[in-house]
């Protein structure tokens, strides 16, 4: 899993403790960005302003194996302030070097982004043609990206030049002005040439440009996997426990239901029902109940997931994307089939016992 199609992501290291970065940036006060915050930006788009000097883009381009290098400027907008529509991650892009949303612009928008326009993520509220305001500057929504499950879903993309202009004018337009100068950037996204080892490029960047924090494309998936590992382990444990507990519980319920209906089943036998009919009646009834229960459980889980989606994202600090229709069908079908299997297995013995009951004895005992 890469970030916006990049093979390698170059971020500023903790600049407050890094002199070389300070030289590159020229304004140490803006190096407030911590590496974990960069992760937060990428994963959940927690709005943050990240800065370092744009000249490194050219230096990165000179490194062997680098195909494209796209600078980006990360600006966190202000919450609950009149100068900003809301708290968002605004990302400034260079249209000439960008390879992240540029392909989307070409295919979907059919034209380059213009000055004063913004392209928003799928999770940002706003329709094409309406306006958003960042640091007192108004932008027109030119397009809306497809959901990605990543931080970019709640990000807004503007042109770098607009970002610099917005920063420059923020002193008079915004409640809290931005301290960003022309040429400053937050990250460089690298696309390596085909057949090039990404690790080699990452090491070269690290060597060539000291003070950078390198994120490789598999870093995010590894990070998400490691975060999910514990959660999934717990969930699998709970599932196994529930499954184990449910079996004897369902067997008990099936047995009680069959026992409760002894007289009814015996009457059916007296009317001419065969043993096979009684077995099928009890067994299919158990399967039906299990299927309905399983389906209700899955639907209830889906509803809870939908309702608590924002809470899950903020609690786990992980991106969330609903699976495709095909995956959903599989995700619904498998638990329902498991429920049916457990229900069927649990009803097997009660069904056999019911089919073998002595009809007259069962009727007489029920009369007492």
């Amino acid at each position: 899993m890469g970030f916006l199609g990049a093979d390698v992501l170059v971020l500023p290291k903790d600049a407050s403790a890094n002199a070389e970065m300070a030289m590159l940036k020229g304004n140490p006060s803006t190096f407030v960005f911590k590496n974990p915050a960069a992760d937060a930006v990428i994963l959940t788009a927690k709005p943050t302003t990240l800065l370092f000097n744009g000249s490194i883009t050219n230096r990165i381009m000179q490194i062997e194996g680098v195909d494209k290098a796209a600078p980006q400027l990360f600006i966190g907008t202000l919450a609950h302030q009149s100068c900003c529509t809301g708290e968002l991650q605004v990302i400034g892009i260079d249209p000439e070097k960008d390879f992240t949303i540029q392909p989307w612009l070409e295919t979907t928008l059919g034209r380059p982004m213009k000055r004063g326009e913004v392209v928003i993520g799928a999770g940002v509220t706003g329709e094409v043609g309406s306006s958003l305001k960042f640091y007192g500057k108004t932008f027109t929504i030119a397009g809306k990206l497809d959901p990605s499950g990543m931080g970019m879903d709640i990000s807004a993309f503007i042109l770098l030049d607009d970002a610099y202009l917005m920063a420059a004018e923020s002193a008079k337009n915004a409640v809290i002005p931005l301290d960003i100068r022309n040429g400053e950037i937050s990250a460089v996204l690298i696309h390596v040439k085909p057949g090039t080892d990404k690790d080699v490029v990452a090491s070269a960047v690290n060597r060539t440009i000291p003070g950078t924090y390198i994120v490789k494309d598999n870093y995010l998936s590894k990070k998400i996997s490691s975060q999910l590992f514990a959660t999934t382990k717990i969930l699998y444990g709970i599932m196994a426990a529930v499954t184990l507990v449910s079996f004897p519980f369902m067997a008990l319920i099936s047995s009680m239901v069959a026992n409760e209906r002894r007289r009814e089943l015996a009457l059916l036998r007296a009317m001419g029902a065969t043993k096979g009919f009684i077995f099928r009646l009890v067994f299919i009834e158990a399967l039906t109940i299990a299927a309905i229960g399983g389906l209700a459980g899955v639907l209830m889980s889906g509803l809870l997931l939908y309702l608590f989606e924002p809470l899950i994202i903020s609690t786990l600090g992980l991106p969330f994307l609903w699976p495709s229709i095909g995956s959903m069908v599989v995700n619904v079908t498998i638990p329902v089939l498991i429920a049916i299997a457990i229900g069927g297995a649990a009803a097997l013995i009660p069904a056999i016992k019911s089919s073998n009951l002595e009809p007259y004895e069962a009727i007489r005992r029920s009369e007492l």
């Binding site: 007289r263 009814e264 009457l267 059916l268 036998r269 007296a270 009317m271 001419g272 029902a273 065969t274 043993k275 096979g276 009919f277 002595e358 009809p359 007259y360 004895e361 009727i363 007489r364 029920s366 009369e367």
Partner: protein
């Protein structure tokens, strides 16, 4: 049409071997109204269940039109129960989630005699004075009405034999007479009735009476009709 030859039914109750019916012989002819009387626990209900193919005898044989029911497979025996016998129990035994009409139709599930089950059920309920109760659930019917639905149910597959196990046991005297009159009418229609009961009050309806005592069956002869 039914002949029981030295049928015995044994039960194991813990370590005790209980003989519920002991070497009973009985021949039932078509159109008979047979009354089997005896105290509680005398074995009369067990005998009835063996005659109706609900219980297989431990010893002896029950022949239906010459065929030994004890040796038949379950599917064939079930078919015989569906087509040849109609059961009436002391309790109505109606399915509470089904209407009176559906309760009457229920046994047709197991009988492939090709009858128009709904039409026949409506006619039966009508003949038992329940035309206005077709859509009623058992909980909305009186004890007598429920019993009449049960009798209608026992007749839906047009069986040759009706086996009634104390069908008036929990009814008041007036309702008891109504029910017995219905059963007698069924007998007059040519159906064979085998009924077990506690006391001798039903003698007037029967043409043959048997007494059951400690599992031993004996036919009562002479002037039992008072």
């Amino acid at each position: 049409m039914i002949e029981a030859r030295k049928i015995t039914k044994r039960y194991i109750d813990g370590t005790n071997d209980i003989i519920a019916v002991n070497s009973a012989n009985i021949t039932v002819n078509k159109g008979d109204f047979i009354l089997i009387i005896g105290r509680s626990g005398s074995g009369k209900s067990t005998l009835l269940s063996m005659l109706g193919g609900l219980t297989r005898p431990s010893e002896g044989s029950v022949l239906l039109e010459g065929a030994d029911m004890g040796t038949l497979p379950d599917t064939r025996l079930s078919q015989i129960r569906a087509e040849t016998f109609g059961f009436i129990f002391q309790f109505p035994g109606l399915i509470p989630t089904l209407t009176a009409l559906d309760n009457v139709i229920l046994p047709t599930l197991f009988c492939g005699n090709g009858i128009d089950s709904r039409k026949r059920a409506v006619n039966l309920l009508d003949s038992f004075g329940l035309a206005d109760k077709l859509a009623s659930y058992p909980s909305n019917l009186s004890g007598g009405e429920q019993k009449r639905v049960a009798i209608a149910r026992s007749l839906i597959n047009d069986p040759q034999v009706i086996l009634a196990d104390e069908p008036t046991g929990d009814l008041d005297v007036r309702t008891e007479k109504i029910i017995m009159d219905y059963i007698k009418d069924i007998n007059k229609m040519g159906k064979t009735i085998i009924m077990v009961t506690h006391g001798p009050e039903m003698f007037i309806y029967a043409n043959r009476v048997f007494n059951m005592e400690n599992g031993m069956l004996s036919e009562v002869t002479g002037s039992y009709k008072t």
